[in-house]
């Protein structure tokens, strides 16, 4: 059984009527969206004192922590953001692993530096939480806009993994800014925002990223 010949004409006419961006146009749009998101995060980072805010901690430790955070973000990006040579995305188990393990890995990495220096002050971590949520939300918003209605399988899991990945990039700046690595602070200021972004990403994945019948 084959589709009717009139259907072919209808589909081609429908596509001709609805302009769609080419790959080059899509790339330019992605560059602009990610640049805006990064600029927003950097603006808040600078407004709140930049690297100078973590002056109470040895600079070598600050940059060491940030390099580790970049490594974690790169791993998350390579699985959740970059789809490889497929249009469908990663298997569910990979996405789940990223969404679940990134907050744990972040906690273990940061707390491993606790006690190696005298922390300059005590904070619960609300500003770290806010900064990570702000930067992560900008990136997550950018990717949700770019991938609107394009995820065909495991949309919620994809969204959760993208949320955690966005948060892990935002966390790089926060790690440069925040001089604290004690466990209670890391849980509230650095791990909780990743969990929140994963949950928000999961909802966005279902509502925004998932392909729906028109």
């Amino acid at each position: 059984m084959n589709p009717s010949s009139s259907l072919r004409d209808r589909i081609l006419a429908g596509a001709a009527k609805r302009p769609a961006r080419t790959r080059a146009q899509g790339r330019r749009r992605a560059v602009v969206a990610y640049a805006v998101a990064t600029a927003g995060s950097l603006a808040l980072f600078q407004a709140w004192g930049g690297v100078g805010h973590s002056a109470g901690r040895p600079a070598s430790l600050t940059f060491g922590i940030a390099v580790g955070a970049v490594g974690l973000a790169v791993v998350a990006t390579s699985v959740a953001w970059w789809r490889g040579r497929t249009l469908v995305g990663r298997p569910a188990s990979f996405l789940l692993a990223i969404a679940a393990l990134m907050p744990i890995a972040t906690f273990v990495w940061m707390v491993s530096f606790s006690g190696r220096y005298a922390e300059p002050f005590e904070r619960v971590g609300w500003r770290c939480l806010g900064m990570t949520l702000f930067g992560g939300s900008l990136l997550l918003g950018a990717v949700a806009t770019l991938r609107n209605r394009t995820v065909a399988v495991h949309a919620s899991l994809s969204g959760a993994a993208l949320g955690v990945t966005a948060g892990s990039w935002a966390a790089v700046l926060v790690d440069l800014w925040c001089p604290l690595t004690n466990a209670p602070h890391v849980l509230v200021g650095h791990v909780l925002p990743l969990v929140i972004l994963a949950a928000v990403g999961g909802v966005l994945g279902h509502r925004v990223l998932s392909i729906r019948s028109r």
Binding site: M1, P91, A92, R147
Partner: protein, 178 residues
């Protein structure tokens, strides 16, 4: 698809000619309704058209197309219309040249296969159908279902086992009757 993603609009017709028959057969079997399948096929191609900017150079289009079609089917199912597996395609496989007894036996076997498949978990049934009925490779099936090749092999193996057990039981009952 690569040409189409780069802006060559004429390539869309070629893409349609390459994919439409297989996608349509899949949609008819899953929806059990040719007119609904046509509607879903139209939506599938329009989704591909709208998402062409995200095409990755050199990526396989077939699993993506099946994946979109399946998502639209599931979405339609959730919105109230039923996704069903019809036995028509199985009946078509019964050879015309068989005698009446063989024909009856084949139809009964086809019915049994359809019933056994319908009773299986969706993940197993869909994996089996994509491989056997739609001719997708294990890797393509894994992409469509968003899982690993190992998981697809396992699901297909379990389906074969279930079918084998059902046919064996049926055979024993038949012999007992005769």
């Amino acid at each position: 698809m690569d040409r189409y993603a780069c802006g060559d609009d004429t390539a869309f017709a070629e893409l349609y000619d390459l994919l439409s028959d297989r996608l349509f057969a899949f949609l008819v079997r899953r929806s059990g309704d040719a007119s609904k399948a046509e509607d879903l096929l139209q939506q599938t191609f329009l989704q591909m058209h709208c998402a062409r900017e995200g095409y990755v150079q050199g990526a396989d289009v077939l699993p993506w197309a099946f994946c979109i079609a399946r998502r639209l089917l599931i979405d339609g199912y959730r919105k109230g219309s039923r996704e069903i597996l019809t036995g028509d395609d199985l009946d078509e496989r019964v050879a015309d040249e068989l005698g009446p007894d063989d024909m009856l036996r084949s139809k009964q076997a086809a019915q049994l296969v359809a019933e056994t498949l319908a009773a299986l978990p969706e993940a197993q049934r869909v994996a089996f159908e994509l491989i056997k009925y739609d001719g997708l490779s294990l890797a393509e099936t894994a992409e469509v279902l968003g899982t690993t090749v190992t998981a697809v092999k396992l699901r297909a193996h379990r389906t074969y086992e279930a079918l084998r057990a059902a046919l064996r039981t049926d055979d024993v009952l038949e012999r007992q009757k005769s």
